[in-house]
Symmetry: C2
Amino acid sequence: MKNLKIKLKTKKFCMRAKAASRKLALIDTNTKNKALRGMAAALLENKAVILKANMKDLKSAGSKGMPSAFMDRLTLSGAGIEAMARSLVEIAGMKDPVGELIDTIKRPNGLVIKKVRVPIGSILIIYESRPNVTGDCIGLCLKSGNSVILRGGKEAINSNIAIFDLLSAEAKRRGIPDGALSIVRDTDRSVVDDLLKAAGLIDLVIPRGGESLINEVTEKSRIPVIKHYKGVCHTYVDASADPDMAEKICFNAKVQRPGVCNAMETLLVSEDIAKAFLPRMIERFRASGVEIRGCPRTRRIASRGVVKADERDWYTEYLDMILSVKVVKGVDEAIAHIMKYGSYHSDAIITENKKNALKFLGEVDSACVYVNASTRFTDGGEFGKGAEMGISTDKIHARGPMGLDELTSYKYVVYGNGQVRR
Amino acid sequence: MKNLKIKLKTKKFCMRAKAASRKLALIDTNTKNKALRGMAAALLENKAVILKANMKDLKSAGSKGMPSAFMDRLTLSGAGIEAMARSLVEIAGMKDPVGELIDTIKRPNGLVIKKVRVPIGSILIIYESRPNVTGDCIGLCLKSGNSVILRGGKEAINSNIAIFDLLSAEAKRRGIPDGALSIVRDTDRSVVDDLLKAAGLIDLVIPRGGESLINEVTEKSRIPVIKHYKGVCHTYVDASADPDMAEKICFNAKVQRPGVCNAMETLLVSEDIAKAFLPRMIERFRASGVEIRGCPRTRRIASRGVVKADERDWYTEYLDMILSVKVVKGVDEAIAHIMKYGSYHSDAIITENKKNALKFLGEVDSACVYVNASTRFTDGGEFGKGAEMGISTDKIHARGPMGLDELTSYKYVVYGNGQVRR
């Protein structure tokens, strides 16, 4: 390893996490599960401590006039803490990926090669001011045998530290190696700059957030990065779509929970069905308070209440009750639009035409592609994976919902009885 | 995608590769295989052209006084070209990974989620002056549906361009999309700096080479990197080792082909067997021309002919007939030494003690760990994977021998019949 040009204090902090990861990789499943259940109990017993710390963060953010969506994400409730505890218990119940035999290769020379799942090592998670994800990140990393270094949004620092201190103390009591859980207590950005240079001490960085965070991490990191980037998700209603199904799915994809990354941001409609489909669809959206931003043809068809969409709209993840709508010639133009403006997260086609479905599913190069279902299903739980670290929008290592398996690497264990190469 | 601050010419070059990757991802197996076989035939028919270009490179490198190991790697022979052609035919015969169904998840709500293998996209390969790998890189990327951008060592530029032009023309004739194969013809380093900034246009960088190349790429890249770094491989001879087996394996691991990354560079010996094992082992090495650099105890035991090893030796990949030797207390010290000085490539224990074997295999965090076999087996062919891109020393995405599967990502294809999220 080359010399790292980072502050000694940060280097020691990372070395501690890395050393702990070597020990944690060898800890048995039972010890990890007992720790997770103990941590869940500690959360429930200390709700008041966490709520008090959260109140401090809320007051500080409120005095800075942060927007309401931000305040929503920052707020922890008693129910929110219970959900965090339930999630830790759920992770305790999940299969331990460490040591899983992925493949066995028997060679003619008698060598037996076992491909075995192992932890990645030490993982730095950089996330927005959402204290409820702190517990999940700790739980998933612990179960998959990885040391975790948390760096949450600075507005949530008191909440995060309160949760961390509780979970960390309980983990230590239950035999989890010292240093396996860490949190960056200094909210100064220069600490992150140093952490991102700690190649060899940190094995992976997972940034979860918007464009500026992702760009900054990508720009500065000397460590492998798996991005959890925005979701500019599309639904394309094909000429042959069942109009009732299309309406139901589009409405769900936009309205059921607009503030999340798998919600629809752009609706594409085939020109052959636009006149029949769009007026009633737009009416339903408008009745529910969704602002529509349309292309010129959408505006002509709707006749009223559709704002003009500009070029920037097609790139935008609104995370809000806003939808951009475009009439396209057909499946080819829909695919071209998605590939140009999308973020390769989740995109759907609604169609009864098998050929168009296969074309869309094959050519749209997104983590999750759907036929006749809502993009809202892109989620670890909905995919049957249980709790998740987030949704990877990268193609390297992990794509889509990232659960325990995706937090592991593998090694080849080769058993011989004297074999040499000829 | 953010604005890339790179030269327009380079941007266009990358955009062409990226656009081609979208088309190549959809090309059927048969077309790819016919192209690969056609490319093999083109190599055999045009040996003279390649040898002439190689001669030009050899003259130029010779006049610069490059070392003989370098000249060896740069040299192409008729047999070398035949081997490259055979490799392309072998790749044509391998299973196409694209479209492979990795997993099917059926959900209670009726959704069917298929996890399907897809190409990564466009891959930049930066490699040393070894023109014989040019064909393998092209063949493996083509078969796995990825656009490839080649950047070989500048000393091999004429050889690489000759091979590339032949293969590229043949691929085009056989229906492979224009732009799927590219080579950087400009040997200026600033072109690479620009390529490494082309996030969104290049999906993956694979650097193959020594420390300075790897560090430079890691430092500059804004694109995911899978490193093919050096192999400081160890063999640890445990107290309970069968001495004859240990001698045979150690000799093979060092001498059979010392210039490659899976050759042994450091021999660790338990103090309990050192006096019985080391003298005859060292004698055999010395008789074959291996220079021994030993720790103080090794030098005392051998009594003569062992140079003093300094701290730097333990970190060194000699790629030569040189071996460092250290006497250790036992398996724990051996593991600690490997984790401190090694490169996490391939490491072996020779032992008849099952407990020590399991400890070593579990705790040494290298891509390939061996019991009672030579580290020389770390190789795509020897692992039954066929031709390989190289040996990944990273833990993210691919570890150890990297074949066709490791050159792919996956996507989730979700089939519904009107499902919405509740």
